[in-house]
């Protein structure tokens, strides 16, 4: 029972394959971080040898470690066995003494770090997918002191890794921030490039203790593959627990 429910998100997202871009969007009322945790756990399943490169702007390692441990996934062990690379960007400050140059340098250095890690892991034998996760994009913008063009450049650089090494991307962003026209590209461009868009929203009727919000999943990839565009936008409710998230269609929760 639980198993089939947990699959509602996976069903909507589709079968995992390399080189896919997933964009998760949330808002102040409903955090979408649990979707990120879900993808993190799924990429680190013991029966695969996939690698995750996690770029954390929002929380320190201990936060993710404790959450994933409850979900049955030990990040410390994965870190030791080189399946999980954690880049702590919590205090990344692109220094602003020398103007714009240095800010881009900070992001460039970060990109260099990512590229190096991707190169190392893709050169190892065995077929493995490398997933790059970013939590979250709006904080990169803060670190870059509002130069959203640099953030976009950074993202596009990262996307080139998709073509070169077949990396997958999972990024988190906050939808409600981008309301004015000059900030829109930072949400629209990743959305355009994404294969799967997952939006976490609160219920229109407010918060409830047994329904924590709703997810809208738009799967663009499968539309092209199969030729039918029907029922590829899914909408369902969720309830977040410590070790699992329940997904269910409205009104079907027992």
């Amino acid at each position: 029972m639980d198993n089939s429910r947990a699959n509602l998100l996976e069903e909507a997202v589709g079968i995992s394959k390399g080189g896919r871009v997933v964009v998760v969007e949330d808002c102040v009322e409903t955090s979408g971080a649990f979707v990120l945790h879900h993808f993190l756990k799924r990429s680190l399943y013991p029966d695969t040898s996939d690698v995750v490169i996690f770029i954390a702007f929002a929380h320190p390692f201990s936060h993710y470690e404790r959450i994933l441990r409850k979900m049955g996934c030990n990040l410390t062990v994965h870190r030791k066995t080189h399946r999980f690379v954690f880049l702590d960007m919590l205090t990344l400050e692109c220094p602003d003494r020398n103007g714009k140059e240095t800010r881009q340098d900070g992001l460039l250095a970060l990109y260099g770090e990512i590229e190096k890690a991707v190169e190392i892991y893709s050169s190892l034998e065995g077929s493995r997918t490398i997933t790059i996760m970013i939590d979250d994009i709006s904080l990169i913008e803060v670190a870059a002191n509002g130069l959203s063009n640099h953030v976009l450049d950074f993202l596009h650089y990262c996307y080139t890794l998709k073509a070169k090494y077949g990396c997958s991307f999972v990024t988190l962003n906050h939808e409600d921030i981008y309301s004015s026209a000059n900030t829109l590209p930072l949400i629209l461009q990743p959305e355009y490039l994404a294969d799967v868009i997952i939006k976490a929203e609160p219920l229109a009727t407010g918060l409830a203790s047994d329904v924590h919000g709703q997810l809208t999943v738009l799967n663009k990839g499968s539309v092209c593959d199969l030729g039918d565009s029907s029922s590829k936008v899914r909408n369902f409710h969720f309830r977040v627990k410590e070790n699992i998230v329940d997904y269910f269609y409205p009104g079907t929760q027992t």
């Binding site: 102040v28 959450i67 205090t91 803060v142 670190a143 002191n145 906050h174 918060l207 047994d210 977040v240």
Partner: protein, 361 residues
């Protein structure tokens, strides 16, 4: 809903009765977190134990009334009583003057512990079978750690001078500096002093910043600078044993940036004054005359967990008990007469429940 309530109640109670640590004023919470008291017992209870250590609390001010100062004062006063190190920044010319306005803890704790069980009795008339459990744990908590963890403050009595005459309080004026770099430096040296080694917090500390983006500060038009300051502060606080409370007037932040500020906050609270003579509201809410204002909790810190905190109510009324102590209460809707059609549901359920209550007993 009705069935889940006792469960929720007992769950939170277990947390609050968890063993207190050696560090004064710090209480262990779930998921390896610790709590600091906010200085308002009711707010601690609403937030599930207090402000999480290492979290950033943002208070959205009311543009017309200084209710946020009540929160900041209680928060800092509680820190002084626990002998924690404090940092206070404000746009005032003389930020040290703030210390003179801090409230003093209520002298007689006996009064408080007598009063509480009586309240419990009144609330638990229906769920009588739970009463004995609640009563027991409550009184135990009152006498044990909890009374020390969080004091009731007498807002009319200033804190005695010896509490803050020591070296533990840093005060900074935001007005002198053209940018936020000096403040950030002070914060980082401050949090470096108390940086915890591994998981051992030796001493908790509190940072309070009042009216961060007020127009008196020269940097109030530099949106990105303030944002990156908040982010740096959040990173600092997270890696040290501190809680930072920032209050800001939301109307002075542009809407797009307001959302960013809210996303950066771990715990988000807003306070609102209520107009003196609002007849509509007075009719709707009981005890309207005693209310100081409304306090809403928009977000509760979720550190080390992905489960969102769903509160039973998000808006509470701020009242003064005996004109001294700040208390928060759930809003009670007054029974409405049948003339207004929209409130049929509430009035119906109200009378219905009270009727069945009468019949049962």
């Amino acid at each position: 809903m009705a069935s889940s309530r006792p469960r929720g109640g007992s769950f939170s109670r277990n947390i609050s009765s968890a063993a207190t640590t050696q560090i004064p004023g710090v209480k262990l919470g779930p998921n390896g977190t610790s709590f600091l008291s906010s200085g308002i017992p009711d707010l601690d209870q609403i937030l599930g134990g207090g402000f999480t250590l290492g979290s950033l609390v943002m208070v959205m001010e009311d543009p017309e009334a200084p209710h946020h100062m009540l929160l900041l004062r209680n928060f800092m006063s509680q820190g002084l009583i626990h002998k924690q190190t404090l940092l206070y920044a404000s746009p005032e010319r003389d930020p040290r003057g703030f210390l003179g306005t801090l409230p003093s803890p209520m002298a007689s704790k006996e009064e408080k512990s007598h009063e509480r069980p009586a309240e419990q009795d009144a609330n638990l008339r229906i769920a009588w079978q739970y009463k004995k459990y609640f009563g027991e744990q409550n009184s135990e908590g009152q006498r044990g750690g909890k009374a020390e963890y969080c004091n009731d403050f007498d807002l009319r009595k200033p804190l005695e001078r010896h509490f803050y005459s020591g070296q533990r309080v840093d005060c900074i004026s935001l007005r002198d500096s053209p940018n936020l770099a000096p403040l950030l430096e002070r914060c980082s040296t401050f949090s470096a002093q108390i940086a915890k080694s591994d998981d051992n917090i030796t001493c908790a500390s509190r940072i309070a910043i009042q009216s961060l983006c007020s127009p008196q500060c020269d940097f109030s038009d530099k949106d990105w600078e303030m944002l990156s300051f908040i982010r740096s502060l959040k990173g600092m606080v997270r890696s040290s044993g501190a809680v930072a409370v920032i209050s800001f007037p939301p109307s002075l932040v542009s809407p797009a940036f307001l959302k960013r500020w809210q996303h950066l906050a771990d715990t988000l609270i807003s306070v609102k004054a209520i107009p003196d003579e609002d007849k509509e509201l007075a009719k709707l809410l009981t005890g309207y005359q005693d209310m100081l204002g409304l306090l809403s909790v928009h977000k509760v810190a979720r550190i080390n967990t992905q489960v969102p905190a769903i509160l039973e109510a998000t808006t509470f009324s701020m009242k003064l008990r005996k004109r001294r102590a700040l208390v928060l209460e759930c809003l009670n809707q007054a029974p409405v007469d049948g003339s207004s059609g929209s409130s049929y549901g509430t009035s119906g359920s109200c009378s219905g429940s009270s009727k069945t209550g009468n019949l049962d007993f």
